[in-house]
Amino acid sequence: MEKIEGTMKVGIGKKIGAFSKKNAIVIVLVLLSVGFSIGNSAFLKPSNLINLTTQMAINAMLTIGITYVIILGGIDISIGSVAALAGVVTALACRALPAGVSLVTMVIVQLGVGISVGAGFGAFNGLMVTKFKVVPMIATLASLTIARGLCYIFSGGTSVSGLTSIYSWLGSARLFKTEAKPTGWLPIITIVVIIFVIIMHILLSKTVFGRHVYATGSNRNVAHLSGINTQKIIFLCYMICGAMAAVGGVLNSSKLQNGQPGAAESYEMFAIASTVMGGTSLLGGSGSVARAILGCAVVAIINNGMNLMHIDSYWQKVVLGVIILLAVVMDMMQKQKSN
């Protein structure tokens, strides 16, 4: 028994070794973490690491969704606006709920309304791309402006406030309250995101649907001639992308207890960068949700670490750009080496 465990451990150790060898992103993550913890010892505090998970939550949700679309060989730049719209609409809907509504009802309404809005916009994108053959970049650019316009129309230009405190449960409550940490250790938002990451990772990597997503992204003609309804796959991926973005938007508005029409502006760019840093090719056909989330972690760590090191916000932009470039270049070189 002992022996088996031993070899299992070695196996896992080897696996991690092989994984990080193949995935430059792991090296980038480690380097950044070491650098920032030297820069400010607070970086490695458990409470900061937990913060990191909540700070990357929104980007993670956007990234999950866009990974599907990118593997498909498409792109969706509307996700920031769709997230904001979902946040605004959800806040409006929940404000209209009768007082004293239960937490469970609240969460169901939040996710239900949010996901409907997001999936709806995703379906619109999907329709434009499949039926009307509009290039994804332009279809989703149109959605970007339309969704943002609707944000302001629905909210009347100001943020949607006056929400009950249970509205913020999803986004800001934490479990395991201790004396040292009276607000609790384990954020609900982190749990929610992890659940979505796991489900969406499995959906992509283990199911027939996932296989069909990869095939469609690899060569749409071949997929079609092999009996895959590629139009349906594409449509569904855009819907998933919209829905995930919307969950991100709902979590965001729950975190802020407030529906902000200007939320998540240009977040799509960081979601795309995260996905690419995680090794997903913008040409489609390959990639993984789990690795894209590592890309999110890089973005979150850069922001968090630079803030802790009090780097000037103007310089932060420059550093962020440089690190994204380095991460992608490292990933490319790694891939070339292993080929």
Binding site: N40, A42, K45, S47, N48, N51, T54, Q55, I58, Y152, G156, G157, T158, S159, S161, G162, S165, S168, G171, S172, R174, K181, P182, T183, P187, N252, K255, L256, Q257, N258, Q260, P261, G262, A263, A264, E265, N303, N304, N307, L308, H310, S313, Y314, Q316
Partner: protein, 319 residues
């Protein structure tokens, strides 16, 4: 508008001395078409200015054409041209950047359309007939004083950590930051303060939430922060609550959510006050000045500053 701009630039054909203000209800502005360019309509502050403009239009009878410039000088210039073509009798704008759009402003003036400014004005041209705005620098000062007062009232006058969440991109926010620093720096040595700049929240509440989170990791005992805009407070509030910290906040703009939060039994313990501008009044006043100029060729003053004031539990109200 920074303090150096508070001394008014005299307009060529008006007297700087305040003339007896004409009774506004004497004016019949029907038939006038006035153009307004808001910095943005994606911000509660400007939306309130718009409300003031609309109210003035209803009261005085002129037609108001309200456009926005996306806080972009180039767009503001285009909007000026468009309003001139549209036949406006006078145009006012909120140049996000106090020096932006100068050539377009001057061109409109040359074409015979009188130009006005609100919220922010241009220091680079002397054709602006009148400017109505808040003194943002002064607002920062009010915020700074409120922070100091909080420290004094709560016996935190030795070694407290205070912070600011800024947005050093629009000029108005830069001025607020400068005003705030001018106050707290004065007390720095006396009270042994640690003053932390939490960073740039870029007008985005979620970014502010991350900034606050990060700051509380290093300074869990941070006593108070000032933010240059209410969205930053919305974000920071979430972070402070999540961390269970005792930090209090003073925001800027006094948007409805600020009033709500200040009166909320729970949130009011954190979000204790807010620096209010009176955007509604800004909108109303600039419209009045434009009407007055069109009808009587006079303005009350070339610079009309509406002072910012502090909103706290004593005077906050939920509409």
């Amino acid at each position: 508008s920074s303090p150096k701009e508070t001394d008014p630039t005299p307009a060529p054909d008006t007297d700087n001395e305040v003339i007896t203000p004409p009774e506004t209800d004497e004016m019949d502005a029907s038939g006038l078409k006035l153009g307004f360019i808001l910095g943005s309509r994606e911000h509660a502050f400007y939306v309130a200015i718009e409300d003031g403009i609309k109210a003035a239009a209803a009261d005085l009878g002129f037609e108001a054409v309200v456009l926005e410039s996306n806080l972009d000088g180039a767009v503001a210039s285009e909007r000026i041209e468009t309003l001139v073509v549209d036949g406006c009798d006078a145009i006012s704008l909120s140049v996000n950047d106090p020096t932006g759009s100068t050539p377009a402003i001057e061109a409109a003036d040359t074409e015979g359309v009188p130009m006005f400014a609100f919220d922010c004005t241009s220091s680079e041209t002397d054709v602006i007939k009148s400017f109505v705005g808040t003194d943002n620098y002064e607002g920062g000062v009010v915020g700074g004083e409120a922070v100091i007062k909080y420290l004094e009232d709560n016996d935190l006058t030795d070694g407290a950590v205070i912070g600011i969440i800024g947005y050093p991109e629009p000029q108005s926010c830069i001025d607020r930051e400068d005003g705030w620093f001018s106050v707290v720096n004065e007390y720095k040595d006396e009270y042994n303060l640690t003053i932390v700049n939490l960073g740039n929240y870029k007008g985005d509440a979620s970014t502010a939430e991350s900034l606050m989170n990060d700051a509380l990791i290093q300074y869990p005992d941070m006593a108070a922060i000032f933010t240059v805009g209410d969205p930053a407070c919305v974000g920071a509030l979430a972070a402070i609550k999540a961390a269970g910290a005792k930090t209090v906040m003073i925001g800027f703009d006094a948007n409805p959510e600020a009033h709500e939060a200040i009166l909320d039994p729970e949130n009011g313990k954190i979000w204790i006050a807010d620096v209010a501008q009176d955007p509604y009044q800004i909108g109303y006043s600039i419209a009045e000045q434009m009407v007055q100029y069109c009808l009587k060729n006079t303005v009350d003053a070339t610079t009309i500053l509406i002072s910012p004031y502090l909103v706290d539990a004593s005077n906050a109200e939920v509409k």
